[in-house]
Point group: C2
């Protein structure tokens, strides 16, 4: 059974569990305006208006343009693949009249971008077609379906994530021998991308910022391209990098310290910051278990840093990883406007989260470590081999 067949099957039982009769993923020209759910339930792009229909009764039907029919049949996840040349409106209307669902879930959500793949223009089209058959009032958000599909990782998904992580760790290990004073952020990025390429591995996100590299105290911080800034003695160097393996993404950060001539251990301020980060990761991992809420876990790490005299970090403690680097709906984050309801979702077994607090050490740079943990029935365990000590780089 392929990952996609597994997910379409999972969707059928989820619909039953959630009491939703029918779920429609409605897309067109998906290479341009890709509903992120397509990657999960189709794995191929579609050109014309296309509907992927799953029902609580256990049916799966696709209606697609003629040239996509053979490709969708090959997926092997749809009992029926119907194709057309001129238009699909009547095909979809007839099929829905036959199913006569009380609720029809569609892919939109204010809070969850992974569940918000339906465009507004496509919504208007669907609404008109459903109005014509008296079903427009049956529309509901598919967010609970899509979130659960992504969040409840199957054994095969965890396995792919483990591979992605282990490849990432090998490249970080090699990086330890590459970083030295005089090497630029760009050179570090090139080194890692070359290593990935030679190993035949894909990057987890866009090459411009995979990896992100920050050397020293004068950096722009996260989500910014590596620069020609050069690693110097006394610098903290942090690297954020990920690999995509069979469609599943790692996302990890490691922190290095470059000793100054004559220095045998990092300065106190650096050490203190490092251990505050390590502890905040461990404490939040211990707090992470089914049924707690994301913001409660975020608060554990954030408060630990505050209690040690550091300001809070300007982002969430952790996000889910999966087919995308920012996957799932629930996050471990503070209750800020931009996170909407995401920090209020109860944690479930099968979720995979990053833990990535950060502090800034004046005159040295950032300390930021990002580990990956899997939630199980009783708690959470590391999928990464967690960084335990500051990686020291010799000054020469």
């Amino acid at each position: 059974m392929t990952l996609i067949q597994e997910k379409v099957d999972q969707a059928k039982s989820l619909l039953k569990e959630l009491g939703i009769d029918c779920w429609i993923t409605f897309a067109r020209e998906s290479e341009l305006n890709g509903d992120p759910t397509l990657e999960l339930i189709s794995g191929m792009s579609v050109t014309w208006h296309s509907a992927f229909i799953v029902t609580a009764a256990g049916e799966s039907v696709a209606i697609v343009g003629r040239y996509d029919q053979a490709g969708v049949e090959d997926i092997g996840a749809y009992d029926e693949v119907i194709s057309y040349d001129e238009g699909m409106k009547s095909l979809l209307q007839e099929r829905l009249k036959r199913i006569d669902p009380e609720s029809i879930a569609i892919n939109y959500s204010r809070d969850s971008e992974i569940s918000d793949g339906l465009t507004y223009g496509m919504f208007l089209t669907l609404q008109e077609w459903l109005t014509e058959i008296g079903m427009a009032r049956r529309l509901v958000s598919a967010e609970p379906i899509i979130s659960a599909l992504r969040q409840r990782k199957t054994a095969a998904e965890i396995e792919a994530l483990r591979h992605a992580i282990s490849h990432t760790e090998v490249i970080f290990e090699k990086l330890t021998r590459f970083i030295r004073p005089g090497v630029s952020e760009c050179a570090i990025a090139d080194f890692m991308q070359d290593e990935a390429k030679q190993a035949g591995l894909e990057l987890a996100w866009e090459p411009a910022t995979c990896p992100e590299v920050f050397a020293g105290p004068d950096t722009a911080e996260a989500h910014y391209n590596p620069t020609h800034r050069v690693v110097m003695p006394g610098h903290l160097v942090t690297v954020d990098f990920g690999i995509r393996y069979e469609g599943y993404c790692s996302d990890m950060q490691r922190t290095f310290y470059v000793l100054r001539p004559g220095e045998h251990v990092p300065p106190d301020a650096v050490q203190r910051g490092f251990y505050a980060i390590i502890e905040s990761i461990e404490l939040s991992r211990q707090a992470l278990k089914p049924c707690v809420l994301g913001y409660e876990v975020d608060a554990v790490a954030r408060n630990h840093l505050k209690n040690n005299g550091y300001p809070g970090f300007p982002h969430a403690l952790g996000h889910q990883v999966g087919r995308f680097v920012h996957d799932g709906t629930a996050i471990l984050g503070p209750t800020w406007e931009k996170y909407a309801h995401k920090p209020f979702h109860p944690i479930e077994p099968g979720m995979v989260f990053t833990l990535e607090p950060r502090v800034r050490i004046p005159e040295h740079g950032l300390v930021t470590i990002e580990e990956i943990v899997l939630v199980h029935e009783k708690g959470a365990r590391f999928l990464t081999n967690p960084q335990k000590t500051l990686i020291e780089i010799e000054p020469y």
Copy 2:
């Protein structure tokens, strides 16, 4: 001036021309749910709720999450880049109150997928924020802005397209010496992808179907992966391939005929089909000029084939190319439901179209050629070197 600066400038004058006061591209996690317009006016992805605002008065302002600020400033196309940590609602509301536009264009369209990047969830958020400041009724579709931005190609864009086409032609030229009986569709696809890779070129669309290769009479037709089917004497072989150069895509098809032992010219049926295609391309190119409508041009090719005893092809005669293989809103296509209003848009100078009619020759396969033409003030000229004769492959 970069292509993106050029496009943001073009947008300012378009707003004035179209009588629209303000245009907002509103996006989040754009690597997942990418509004295709972002590639045109930003060139980088954004993580948090972000607004790219252009006004008819000539302002350009971006409101983005803190970590995207430096990247957006580097684009050099926005007079002001405002950033935030917790939420952007009040920043956007204040800015809109200051601009006080009578009309606010947003990226949705039932007909034009390139203009339909706003998701339904994001629409609901924006609608709520605008309702709070009494501006929700000012929303209009940005389709005329986005279509014109994509359709009116600048000199730099045409230049990039020319490069993409010329690289594609070089690879097709090499392919002529590679195709022979016994070679599979997959081997042909691998050969072309290797050639692109060795030349350091990106493919124009997803690798699974770039190129498409169809050998002989028993093929699935367009939009289907190459198979292990093998080229045989008597086969027509068609290949659909494109290269992306500096973000701009070619899309071309060529037709080959494999002679049978003792055969010195292709059979009559094949020759007749080939010339019917060549003529229908030339006749439709002559019909293509500013102010005619897309369906009129489609009809010229379609009717020529029908008059020669062939059935019509089950797709449009041509689409625009640009940053995507299917670019722009106007198409040269029949008035079918799935094409909505696209065939009714008047042709404008600066549009770049494919012309790609096809016929099926029983027992031999497909004849399908795809050329690219640029519309100018008085007509349309080829950007490709058009295929004039059937490319003959020796049987041994």
